[in-house]
Symmetry: C2
Subunit: 218 residues, 2 copies
């Protein structure tokens, strides 16, 4: 896993001032590691299409299922995609509506995904993708057999061209004229949490909830 | 607010079987009402670009800030966009890795956004956008003045062409051969919750947390 800064390209140069842009590789890896659903943008017949899908990332590649993007990627396997991962961390409640905003961490990755054909990489990529959302399940559940592997198209997007945007901290209008208003200002934090596991109604009797799932309750 | 079914177009026809597609208007409205961050997809010089941004929706239009998409939308104001709103509701932990998945609700809206120039619609759209993430704040915080309104570009995307995808319920492999395995299966629910409000360190003394913000704690 490289720690060189991400190269700046025309697409990843940050244009706006209020959000904190970065091309820091550690930040990119941290944002990708903190989630498991991305929004995949592809161009189909000149039109943008944004599809949510699960992913796994290892610092070098971001893996996702090829079927999600099949309409465009099968037709043009060398087409550029944009994958965006966003974590919403809170509402920024300023004194003025104009200064309202969101605390968030977001990563955008651009590139041409590659169809993974090497069996070892495909298995490793699927493991990564599974473990990113459901750690422990690769070793616990039944792994894909030969037929299932053949039925799965896996794509690898290199993490070479990416940018990160982060907003943290309190409102920005605490030192301006609005600070004199009788208006509460601050941040309402937000996070995604796991609830109580719900057993499949079809689950056979006597199968206990494994510790690696139970441990995820928020 | 119309309750006619959403028209089926080449882009919104559902191609995959395992996810439940719909063009039901009530479902679309419910998914849009349940969030406040969307992923906006635009095409810039032939490349897809997916940007997270806040929105407000009223059953007829989806409003978002024009600045987010300025690079493409200012250049080509009649360019198609795709706005996707996704709620992740849980992990589907099946007996086999192959059947793992996510419970989610997702809406995709396609169209050409219109720059809102009518002052009354602009104010109503900004109110909608503010209230969607921070209900109560439009009447509580300082509203935009003439200068702030002029500095804000608001876009309206008609909710005419849209599709909805939803996955709910337990794993799909409860009635297949894998049901005999000694593997726990079920759903790990997930939701976004608000935490304890954090006052701006610059907040003047004596300003109490208003009830409409306090009430949102999860």
């Amino acid at each position: 896993m490289s720690h060189s800064p991400l190269p700046e390209t025309e697409r990843t140069r940050h244009r706006r001032l209020r959000e904190q842009g970065s091309r820091d590789r550690a930040q990119l890896d941290a944002i990708l590691a903190a989630g498991f659903v991305c929004h995949l943008g592809v161009v189909v017949d000149g039109c943008p299409m944004v599809v949510p899908t699960v992913y796994g990332a290892d610092g070098t590649n971001l893996y996702f299922h090829g079927s999600v993007a099949s309409r465009s990627l099968v037709a043009s396997p060398d087409a550029l995609v944009c994958v965006t991962v966003t974590h919403v961390d809170g509402l920024v409640l300023s004194r003025s509506v104009f200064e309202h905003g969101v605390n968030y961490r977001s990563a955008m990755v651009y590139g041409v995904p590659r169809l993974v054909t090497d069996p070892a990489e495909k298995l490793a990529g699927l493991r990564l993708l599974t473990e990113q959302s459901a750690p422990g399940q690769w070793d616990y559940a039944r792994r894909p057999d030969r037929k299932e592997l053949a039925a799965t198209a896996l794509l690898a997007l290199p993490l070479d061209e990416a940018s990160v945007k982060i907003r943290v901290g309190p409102p920005d209008d605490g030192d301006g004229p609005d600070a004199g208003l009788d208006v509460w200002a601050g941040v309402l934090p937000m996070s995604a949490v796991f609830g109580e596991p719900e057993a499949d109604p079809a689950l056979r009797e006597g199968i206990a909830l494994p510790a690696h799932i139970a441990a995820r309750r928020g």
